[in-house]
Each structure stands twice: as C-alpha cells, then as structure tokens.
C-alpha cells in the first residue's frame, strides 16, 4: 500500500480564536469579529467559509462576511437557528471559538475585474456576499458599476444598517432594497426581491451577477435575470449545504458528484445548470 508515501493531513483540529467584537444586527443575527491566534490572517477569498465550533455545541460551516482586504481579523454573521448558533449568541468579546479553514471555492476576483457588479442578496444571503461587496468597494477603481439588490422578509431583518446607509449615500454604489412585509414605519419598496430586477438598466455584456439567498429564491432570480438577457456565463451563485467536514469527506454537502465544500460554495452558473438537486 502507498499509505505511507502520501502527505497525511490533520484535518479536524481547530485554531482557537478570539471574539474581539460582537455587533447586534437584528433580533436573530449578530456579527462576530474574530482574530486568529498570533495575529495570523485567515487568507480567504470572498465567498469562502470556515468551520466554526464551540466545544460542547459542535461545529458548523459559516461564510465569511468580510473582505480579505481587511487583514488580521474577519467577520462571521450568524443567525441563531440551532444549538451551536444559539450558543454563539451567548458568547462575548474575549471568548474563544474554534476555527478551521478557510474552505471551498470563493469568487475568482481576477475574472471580475473591470465588470459591472450586480449583487442579488436575499435575506441572510447578504452575509456571504458582503465579503465580495466589501472587496469591490476596497478596490473600487477595479470595477465598473456596483449595483446591490437586497430583499428581506421585513424591515426588522435588515442586516448591516450602518453599511447600508453608506452604500445608499455613496454616488458610486447603486443600492436597491425591498421588504416582503412592511411595518408601519417602512417607507421603502414592498415586494419580493425579483421585483427589483426588471427596472435595472444593465449593460448585460459587462455585467456579472453574484446571487445568494434562501433556496427558494434562486429559480425566480434566474428567471428575472434571463428576462434581462443576462448571459448564463455572467452569473455566479453560492449554494447552501451543511458542510460538516469542509474537506470533501463526510458527504453531507454532495450534489451528485459535486462536493459543495470543495467545488463550491461559489459556482459558475453554467457549471451547475444541469446539476439536479442543486437549486
């Protein structure tokens, strides 16, 4: 057997990392700013994820919501929705969490240079896209137009209100937002996210769309983008699966022959168009 001739890897040991800031974003979402030991940088690509763990509560894949241009620390935006994420919401600045990664295939920013960027963010899908939005804003002159389309269920679920305020005010960012169910104070648009797409004035040849949202959203956003005649080659999306190991072994994130933790979570749409069970 050649078992001894290949480089064996220790795959499952986390780096104990410190929570250096906690921001309350909504009733169910918090942002955790985390620093790795000894000031190491995570060295991630926009769109990648880490395996986050709290001892006794397990481990889960969480996408990185800050740009790699911000070094020495990174952000995780976490919705309290299970054992581990509920526990996370009880942790405070100074607490340690386990981090493995970064894992997966992020956005290849070299292919996006010079393009008009269209971000289609449904609900918490804004969190993984924020790593790329922040990246394009940090390298603003590398990109054409920056168009952000964001939809949430209701106004109380809006993530990153302070960043959104900046995006709304910047002349070089086109920001559009809608909510499904308005409250009495809501003055903005009402409707599902796909209602924001038809009015956009896009130069489709140079527009690249990055789409992330709940599973039910993809089909309808793709239809709306098709109606705008945006070519499939110009669409990237990130898929949600429960990547347990992050290293292509455990099988949980597999779609047909594709391991989302290895080949994704960011996919070029033409590559998964014919992949059953993908979206």
């Amino acid at each position: 057997m050649e078992a001894t001739t290949i480089q064996k890897q220790e795959l499952y040991y986390p780096l104990m990392s410190e929570i250096i800031q906690v921001d309350h974003l909504t009733r169910t979402e918090k942002r955790f700013i985390i620093s790795l030991p000894d000031g190491q940088s995570l060295g991630h690509k926009p769109g990648q994820f880490v395996e986050l763990s709290v001892f006794g509560f397990g481990e889960a894949p969480i996408s990185i919501s800050s740009s790699p241009t911000k070094t020495g620390q990174f952000d995780l935006t976490i919705r309290a929705t299970g054992r581990l994420t509920d526990k996370m919401h009880h942790l405070k600045t100074g607490n340690l969490v386990g981090i493995r990664g970064p894992f997966g295939n992020g956005f290849d920013v070299s292919l996006l240079k010079g393009k008009d960027m269209l971000f289609v963010c449904g609900g918490i899908g804004l969190a993984p896209l924020k790593s790329l939005i922040d990246y394009t804003l940090a390298r603003r002159s590398d990109f054409g137009r920056i168009i952000i389309v964001y939809g949430t269920k209701n106004p109380s679920e809006i993530l990153y209100p302070s960043e959104i305020k900046v995006w709304q005010e910047r002349p070089d960012v086109e920001f559009h937002m809608t909510v499904d169910r308005p409250d009495v104070n809501w003055e903005g648009k009402v409707g599902v996210i796909t209602t924001l797409i038809p009015p956009l004035d896009l130069v489709v040849e140079r527009t690249v769309a990055a789409v992330v949202g709940p599973p039910v959203m993809y089909k309808f956003v793709l239809m709306a983008l098709k109606a705008k005649r945006l070519p499939d080659e110009n669409i990237y999306m990130s898929l949600e699966r429960r990547m347990k190991c992050g290293v292509g072994k455990c099988g949980h994130c597999q779609i047909n022959h594709t391991y989302v933790c290895q080949d994704g979570p960011v996919f070029h749409y033409p590559d998964i168009k014919r992949l059953e069970e993908a979206i």
Binding site: Q7, Y13, M16, G56, R242, H252, Q254, N256, H257, E277
Partner: protein, 356 residues
C-alpha cells in the same frame, strides 16, 4: 472468465501446505507478530470480525461477516479530540497504528478496503484513516459465493489477491497457502512448520449464484442513462430508509461530527460517527430545507456513488459485491435485482433510440 488462467496465475506463487491441525498453531504464531483479527461466530448463523483470543474460535468457512472491515479503519464512533469545557482548550486524540493481521478475509473485503483507501487519500489525505491503515497485513481465504454475493459479477473473483499477503485455498488436508508478497513470505518462514508444495494445485471453480445481465465494465455506461429511471421510485415504495445498507456497506464512509459533553459538564469529546445518505436528514440544511427528502432520490444518490461518481474519478466500481446490503435489508431490496432492472431500463431506452 477462464478458470485455467486463474489456476495458472495462482500457481505462479510459492505454495505451502497448512494442515487443518496446523491452522491454530499458525494463528498462535501470527499472534506473536501482531494483533490478529478474524471472523468468529456471532450468532448461530452470523459472523463478525473480532480480536482473536483463542485460535480455536476462528472461522475460515463462512459466507460473510455482518460488518465489513471498515470498522477497524473508520470506527463507528471515533474521538477526534477531547476538550476542557472550562478553559476552552483541547487535546488532539492520537491514532495509534498498532500492527494488525487480518486473517481469513474474502477478496471483495480486501477490495472494499482498497476503495476506502482511495476515498481517504484523494483530495485531502486524512491522517486518522491512513494512520490506522498502516502496519496491516491481510491474509485472504477462499469462499463459496451465495445468492447475495455480486463480487464475481462485478469483476472481483474469489481468488483476487490484490492487497493480500497470503491467500488460503482449502484442500483435503487443510489449506494451501499461496504466498503473495514479502510480508506473507516472512510470516510463512517465521512459522517454519509448513511443507512447500511443488505440484500444481487445481483450484476448484466457485461459480457465482447471483448474476448481472451486463459485463461489469458496461455498468458506468448504464448509470449515465438511468438518472431519471422509474426504478428509483419502485425501490422507494419498499425502502424503509433505515440506512442499514449504508452502515454495512464495504465502501460507504460518510460521517457526522458531534460534541459529547461528559456528565460533570467540565469536559467532553468531539466525535465522529458513521452517517448514511439513505437517512432522511442527511442532506438537510438550515431552515429544514432538504435537498434529497425523497427516498427515490436518496437511493439514486447512493447507487450513483457506487457506480458512477467515484467510478468516474477512480476508474473502479465502488461496489465490491459483498452482498451485505441485500442480505441484511429489512425490506429485502436486492442490489442484483435493482441493477438488472436498471439495465433493462437502459436497454429499453437504447431500443427506442434505434427505432427513431
């Protein structure tokens, strides 16, 4: 398959006679060389690979064990690390690679281990598995295929010696030990009490009882065309979704990772457990969205993993035909029958294509 070729090939190896009386002695000798594991009686009609305390308990003539060998390399429950809850620190759990000798295993079982080797070496080679795989010696034995064994039909003949160090073939006086590699040679020489055999051994053909309608090398082609087959729905009508086929599969290795907290709430362990793609929550994500919530899609996924997805990468079928999924299925779903139904579906499609 030409049996004369098998006889010729096998007789190229050095041969020794281990008489029936010598077998327990040989096992005792093996125990001085490493920890010996072999099939032993579990119930009246069932067998299990266990550590050999008493060589007299070792069974060499058995149809199959309940569980495959994978349990020794990918334990059903495995500690990855232990943590101190209070200090938020952890210790790595060492994987000790003791020397182990697996005595009296069937060729499909060895092939199953070789398939697992592939899965754990590819991409990110996993230390936990690979450390356990080191320092292992495998001694094979012949078997009589029963109605569940598909190994022969899938291209793994009874006398396939890949990965083995010694192969045992029963004869009137006991067993002929064919020496396959250096490790096997060292064991035979170390034991020293066997007589070398020079005449040709006429290995008896062990015909397969279960048949597949196509040659096995056509199966990947079949699986390119049956993704939408109605066969998946037909199986789903019988399948209970219990996951037995995953757990007993020689080559299934999917797992879950969970933290177990000790009763004092001071410490705990992070452990991995066998999981299975036939279980209903396997492909579930946050918000209870389940990408394979139907039994038909789960069955399809499982069999595509055996005959297509991994096969496209490795070039080998990842079903080794051990027959466990058929033998132990509580709903009596038979893999051979399923494959033949898929082949029928494929043939029907081809006929239609030709007609138009």
């Amino acid at each position: 398959m030409n049996y004369l070729d098998t006889i010729t090939r096998m007789n190229l190896h050095e041969k020794y006679l281990l008489t029936s009386k010598q077998i327990p002695d040989f096992i005792s000798f093996l125990k001085t060389q490493g920890a010996v594991y072999a099939a032993q009686k579990k119930g009246e009609q069932s067998y299990s690979y266990q550590y050999v305390e008493d060589p007299a308990n070792v069974v060499l003539d058995y149809p199959r064990t309940i569980q495959p060998l994978k349990k020794f390399f990918l334990p059903p429950r495995e500690e990855l690390l232990s943590f101190d809850y209070q200090n938020n620190s952890y210790q790595k759990t060492d994987v000790v690679a003791e020397k182990r000798i697996f005595f009296g295993i069937h060729s499909y079982e060895m092939q199953g281990v070789l398939r697992l080797d592939y899965s754990f070496k590819k991409g990110n080679p996993e230390g936990n598995y690979l450390n356990r795989r080191e320092n292992c010696i495998f001694i094979g034995v012949s078997y009589e295929p029963d109605e569940f064994h598909l190994a022969n039909a899938l291209g793994i003949e009874v006398e396939n010696t890949e990965g083995l160090s010694i192969y045992l073939e029963p004869v009137r006086e006991g067993y002929i030990a064919f020496v396959i590699d250096e490790a096997g040679q060292n064991l035979i020489q170390g034991f020293g009490k066997t007589a070398k055999v020079t005449e040709t051994i006429h290995i008896k053909e062990k015909p397969a009882k279960a048949k597949i309608r196509y040659h096995y090398n056509r199966l990947p082609k079949v699986f390119e065309h049956v993704y939408t087959s109605q066969v998946w729905g037909q199986i789903a009508k019988k399948c209970l979704g219990c996951g037995t086929c995953n757990l007993l599969c020689s080559t299934c290795y999917c797992f879950d990772v969970r933290d177990e907290v000790s009763l004092d709430l001071q410490s705990g362990t992070r452990e991995r457990f066998w999981d299975g793609c036939m279980l209903n929550r396997f492909a579930e994500v946050a918000g209870n969205e389940n990408f394979r919530d139907e039994l038909s899609s789960r069955t399809r996924h499982r069999l595509h993993r055996k005959f297509k997805y991994l096969t496209e990468e490795s070039g080998a079928l990842h079903c080794v035909g051990c027959g466990r999924c058929s033998k132990y299925c509580p709903a009596k779903i038979n893999l051979g029958t399923t494959i033949n139904a898929l082949i029928d579906d494929f043939t029907e499609q081809q006929k239609l294509k030709e007609a138009y």
